[in-house]
Amino acid sequence: MAENLAVRVEGLVKVYPRGVRALNGLSFTVNEGEIYGLVGPNGAGKTTTLRILATLLKPTEGRVYIYGHDVVKESLEVRRLLSYLPEEASAPREMKGVEFIEFIAKLRYTNPRDIAQVLEEASRISGLGKDLERKVKTYSKGMKRRLLLATMLAVRPRLAILDEPTSGLDVEQSLRIRSIIRRYSRSLGVTVLLSSHNMLEVERLCDRIGIIIKGRIVEEGSPQELKEKYGAETLEDVFLAVTGRREAGPR
């Protein structure tokens, strides 16, 4: 049942105040320990979905369970299980990098040893080194992204929800972050649900992929399965085939 599923989304509908129907009966599940990638064109509803899972938005219809907990009725319980990296976010400008990590750590842990461990892990994952002693307002876009991502992983959630985790990062940093996400998921059994526009990233990283168009999952499977099904060489070709912007089939 639900309990061994990390995420269970059933018939999710989201209508925004001015009538935009962002989600239209979206359903999918994520198994525990899995890395699941949501891909889809701009405006498909990825961020909306992740925000509902992170308890920031309320679904208009449908249900979402995180490790068996209803995101609407047990939102606090759900937030204890997950950490969320928003699509567009930063840390308080006036805080130093370390102070931000410590702030987030203290909201979850009381034991100084746990907090120290989060700090250590976040500084290692971020690779920011001495820059962590500087104020966030002096950071570049990529540095801010690394700080947030590292913090959200270092607190060791059972489910990490990452909205375009590597957006704004250079090639080297993206590669590093990808390997960290993978290692984290494998060694600690952290379930990861991410969205991305980078097909290469999704292909290398994700165990399963859901392609979302106009608020519905229209295709789902492992990268290999999808490539075989569409007879495509790359996931990019699968994507283009599914979204119908190009003729289906191999090059």
Partner: protein, 383 residues
């Protein structure tokens, strides 16, 4: 404890940063310097150099009456105050009876130090009439401010200012304004720093976030407002007595001071929570405008109304105690309870309950997606 962590984070961003700390030092210096200047100016006004002009039907008779008592007379354009000599004024003046005078200020002379000038004018008139017992209660001063353009704003500006100084609502209006600003900037920073989604996805109850923000804004307001009001007191207490010379003892007994402190804190928590709730609907600088309008228009409006229409203060005291007359204080005032102190404490209690309700409301707004939608709108507006 999570609350402490959140409170500390809020306090750091609101109070313990360079900008806020520098202004904590600078503001009192500016006030004290302005005070110095206005004390000098006011001292000039206070002495017998005050030159009076008289207009109206009985102008000549009143002029003669004043001249005989050594008052400096001049033309209206040069006068420090203009007296409108209505029929019967002279008779009352010479018999030491209560008189109603219209006193016109020129705007330049309406400095901070002359806030209490109506009192000194009343005293001057008492001296003129040769009857010292005429002071305050018997002379009703209606002040009119003459703008440099020559236009006059009539009303009872002076008595309103007196009321604000004499009744607790003066410090309370300050209290509310001082709590509004940090509360609104606390939410604005969440939006402009793009931290709101991260904050709201942490495993923390919304009520805890709301309470931490409200308390942090209150503490910040207390420190900033406290420093400023202390500077103003320091400035005013340098003035000669009878000229707005103000001492803490003049405010009342120690128990009244405790009540005042409690009122200020209650008012601040309330105002901060109101501002936080407003900022979910009006993210950005307009929240400040909206909040200020509520405070200033309603608060000062009620104070002016009550005093200028001579409404008996007792039933309105609760309203006067609170710059934002919401249901609670109105109810209290409707009950018309006797005893000012019990009254005051009841208002404090009601305010705290209202603050609690507003904090809950703010927490509900954070829980609903309204705060996020507001944040998204705000962030889109920025980029």
């Amino acid at each position: 404890m999570v609350f402490k962590v959140l409170l500390w984070k809020e306090l750091r961003s609101l109070l313990l940063n360079k900008g806020a700390l520098i202004s904590l030092v600078l503001i009192p210096i500016v006030i004290l310097m302005a005070g110095q200047a206005s004390v000098q100016q006011a001292t000039k006004v206070a002495t017998s150099k005050l030159c009076v002009a008289v207009t109206g039907p009985e102008a000549q008779a009143v002029e003669r009456f004043l001249e005989m008592r050594g008052v400096c007379l001049t033309t209206p354009a040069k006068a420090d105050l203009v007296i409108y000599a209505s029929p019967g004024l002279l008779e009352n003046l010479s018999r030491g009876l209560p008189v109603k005078l219209s006193v016109y200020y020129r705007l330049e002379s309406l400095s901070i130090a002359s806030l209490k000038a109506p009192l000194s004018i009343a005293k001057l008139l008492a001296k003129i009439a040769g009857n010292v017992s005429l002071v305050t209660p018997k002379v009703v001063v209606n002040a009119t401010v003459l703008l440099p353009t020559g236009k006059a704003i009539s009303g009872s500006v002076a008595s309103m200012m007196m009321t604000m100084l004499n009744v607790l609502s003066f410090p309370l209006i300050f209290a509310a304004i001082f709590a509004f600003a940090p509360a609104i900037s606390s939410m604005m920073m969440e939006y402009s720093d793009k931290t709101i989604e991260i904050l709201l996805s942490q495993p923390v109850k919304r009520t805890t976030i709301a309470l931490a923000k409200s308390v942090a804004a209150t503490v910040t307001g207390l420190v900033q407002g406290g420093v400023m009001i202390a500077a103003m007191f320091a400035m005013m207490s340098e003035m000669p007595k009878g000229l707005g010379g103000l001492s803490l003892q003049a405010l009342g007994s120690p128990s009244a001071m405790v009540l005042l402190a409690a009122s200020v804190i209650a008012e601040m928590v309330f105002a901060a929570s109101l501002a936080l709730a407003i900022s979910v609907f009006m993210p950005g600088p307009e929240a400040m405008g909206g909040a200020m309008a509520i405070i200033v228009v309603i608060g000062i409006g009620v104070a002016t109304f009550a005093t200028s229409y001579g409404v008996p203060l007792a039933p309105l005291k609760a309203l006067m105690l609170s710059p934002i007359p919401l249901i609670g204080p109105m109810l209290v005032s409707a009950l018309n309870l006797a005893g000012a102190v019990a009254y005051g404490w009841l208002v404090v209690l009601v305010r705290l309950v209202e603050a609690g309700i507003l904090i809950k409301l703010f927490a509900r707004l954070l829980e609903s997606e309204r705060s996020l939608t507001a944040a998204i709108r705000f962030m889109r507006g920025l980029s």
